[in-house]
């Protein structure tokens, strides 16, 4: 009887094309994670080593699995919104937007223009917030702790804005099907403008600290290289794909909301290594600042919720004063929005890559099947390709550079 566990067998069966002459023939199996501080949560890597060189890797996920897809089948569309916060918990706002866009596509709901502008603003805020953590933690993993502290300082400012904006600092649940929980206050707009004015300077500080820093560059340059062809084949999305030279961005390729009205660039790098992925995120933060500025300038006045009483929750003031609204609220909360029979797929460009929701509806209050296409899950899949042939000390730099969030990888 074979007493080895299946994961160990899989590692040994792996096709290995990097060979080194080793007179001792002592391949070593190293477990990294799920509690290793550099594995960003609960990622476990089984690494087969020859000396310090990595011959093969098997990533293992599932330590966090909370069964979000099963849960979705057992609750109404509205009830599921808070669960989307817990997917990519570093950018909950963007996750909220992605989910409601999918439901709105399914139910054929059109959202007022002001709500669309605010959704763009919050999605870009979420991108900056997420990239700040990605930037800081990558730098910390290779030894530059200061950048993590700076990143969190800036993120803290954004969280203060988010607090005024949505009422909470972390799990926002800010969007509603057909609109938003509330309008943006003038105070929040003023705070956001202040933030945008000082933020580019802070990015320059980080660049000044890192981009001429020999330790940082030598630990990231040429490390974890993935070619354009491999990146597409492995299904990488987001900054990780663009760092390999593929200008694929859903904001431009499959425009949702009103992204086609804004002027912004899609930065790409050709190297496909860890430092290229770092540069991309720095550039993207600048582009996000540009988008938010334009959105704040152009934002029109008007309602933030669609006037569709059978589909969109009425405001609390109206529920208290009017019988009709009370009935609608009761029906929506208890029986859901009952979209038509059919299936849709809607994706947005999240900070980690393509975040998509596939919904199959049988016309009931709850989705028959809801599948989350989470970018981190797919990005982690490429780790064996990225790690092969590198040294054990490069592992932390490579994991950091693909920016995995286990909340959405494990769902």
């Amino acid at each position: 009887m074979n007493t080895k566990s299946k994961i160990l067998q899989a590692l040994e069966n792996q096709d290995v094309s990097v060979y080194f002459d080793d007179p001792l023939e002592n391949d070593m199996i190293l477990n990294m994670g799920p509690q290793h501080p550099a594995t960003h949560g609960v990622l476990r890597l089984l690494i087969r080593l020859n000396g310090e060189t990595i011959l093969g890797t098997v990533p293992e996920v599932g330590y966090l699995h909370r069964g979000y897809e099963k849960l979705a089948e057992n609750m109404t569309y509205h009830e599921y919104i808070p669960h989307t916060d817990r997917l990519d918990y570093l950018s909950p706002l963007a996750n909220n937007v992605a989910y409601v866009l999918a439901v709105e596509k399914l139910a054929g709901i059109k959202v007022p223009r002001r709500a669309q502008f605010i959704r763009v603003i919050i999605a870009e805020m979420a991108r900056i917030m997420s990239h700040l953590v990605a930037m800081g933690s990558t730098a910390m993993d290779v030894g530059a702790l200061t950048v993590l502290l700076w990143g969190f300082r800036e993120r803290e400012k954004l969280q203060d804005i988010q607090d005024v904006f949505t009422g909470v600092r972390f799990t926002t649940s800010f969007t509603r099907i057909g609109g938003l929980a509330q309008d943006m206050s003038d105070e929040a707009i003023a705070m956001l403008k202040n933030f945008l004015d000082q933020f580019p300077e802070k990015i320059k500080d980080v660049e000044g600290l890192l981009f001429k820093n020999r330790i940082f560059i030598q630990r990231c340059e040429g490390v974890g290289v993935i070619s354009k062809h491999d990146a597409i084949a492995m299904g990488l999305t987001g900054p990780n794909l663009r760092a390999s030279g593929v200008a694929h961005d859903l904001r431009r390729d499959e425009p949702y909301l009103i992204y086609d009205e804004f002027d912004f660039d899609i930065p790409t790098y050709d190297d496909g290594d860890a430092i290229a992925r770092f540069y991309i995120r720095m550039e993207e933060m600048k582009q996000s600042v540009k988008i938010i500025r334009q959105a704040l300038e152009k934002i029109p006045k008007g309602p933030v919720n669609a006037a569709l009483p059978k589909k969109v929750l009425p405001s609390k003031e109206r529920i208290y004063g009017k019988m009709e609204e009370l009935i609608h609220d009761f029906m929506l909360i208890n029986f859901g929005i009952n979209p038509p029979v059919g299936e849709v797929y809607q994706a947005i460009e999240n900070s980690k890559g393509e975040l998509g929701f596939y919904i199959s509806s049988l016309g009931e209050g709850a989705p028959w099947r809801l599948k989350i296409h989470s970018p981190s899950f797919i990005n982690i899949q490429a780790l064996p390709v990225l790690l092969k042939g590198h040294l054990i000390s490069d592992v932390v730099a490579i994991i950091g550079s693909i920016d995995p969030v286990m909340g959405e990888a494990d769902k």
């Binding site: 099963k70 596509k105 028959w368 099947r369 296409h373 899949q381 494990d410």
Partner: protein, 163 residues
């Protein structure tokens, strides 16, 4: 966008006319259902055809419909970077025959999504290089996204580790 859609449907009908069960467009999402026997051939064609060139398989999705005429559906979320076009390719599976050829050799990125479908629905991908459970423990006996699996789980289904 319209042009590539026409071309895709035309080319599929021309080459695999008999195997195409339905072409549906709902709220802007194009879904083409094909016969299970031809799925591998059609995937190879979609990847290799120079005009269509679907070079990314973004996801493989399993759905349990619990119907009398078929039990499961597999949905391939295909994307062509060159044409900037996406559609869903579907196929139906009977409960009595849960084997289907794997597409990992066409799109290496389908590796984990297929493992996920195997883990949750028990659909077996023939030719998959590493068909193991991905989220659930290795010795887990059930398929949690099948509709008969209760939301609260089956008591005792995950035994405590032996001392």
């Amino acid at each position: 966008m319209e042009k590539i859609k026409q071309k895709l449907i035309e080319k599929l009908k021309e080459n695999y006319g008999m195997s195409i069960e339905s072409v549906v467009e709902f709220q802007g999402t194009l879904t083409i259902t094909v016969a299970k026997e031809k799925i591998k051939e059609i995937c190879t064609f979609l990847r290799g055809d120079f005009d269509l060139y679907f070079d990314m398989c973004k996801d493989v999705i399993g759905v349990d419909y619990q119907r009398a005429d078929f039990r499961f559906e597999l949905v391939y979320n295909l994307y062509s970077i060159k044409n900037n076009f996406r559609f869903l390719l579907k196929t139906k599976l009977q409960e009595t025959d849960l084997n289907i050829p794997s597409v990992v050799d066409i799109w290496p990125g389908a590796n984990w999504p297929e493992r996920e479908v195997y883990d949750f629905f028990g659909i077996i991908f023939d030719g998959h290089p590493d068909l193991r459970r991905i989220y659930m423990p290795e010795d887990f006996e059930y398929f949690p996204l099948r509709k008969e699996f209760p939301l609260m789980g089956i008591p005792g289904s995950i035994p405590l580790p032996r001392k």
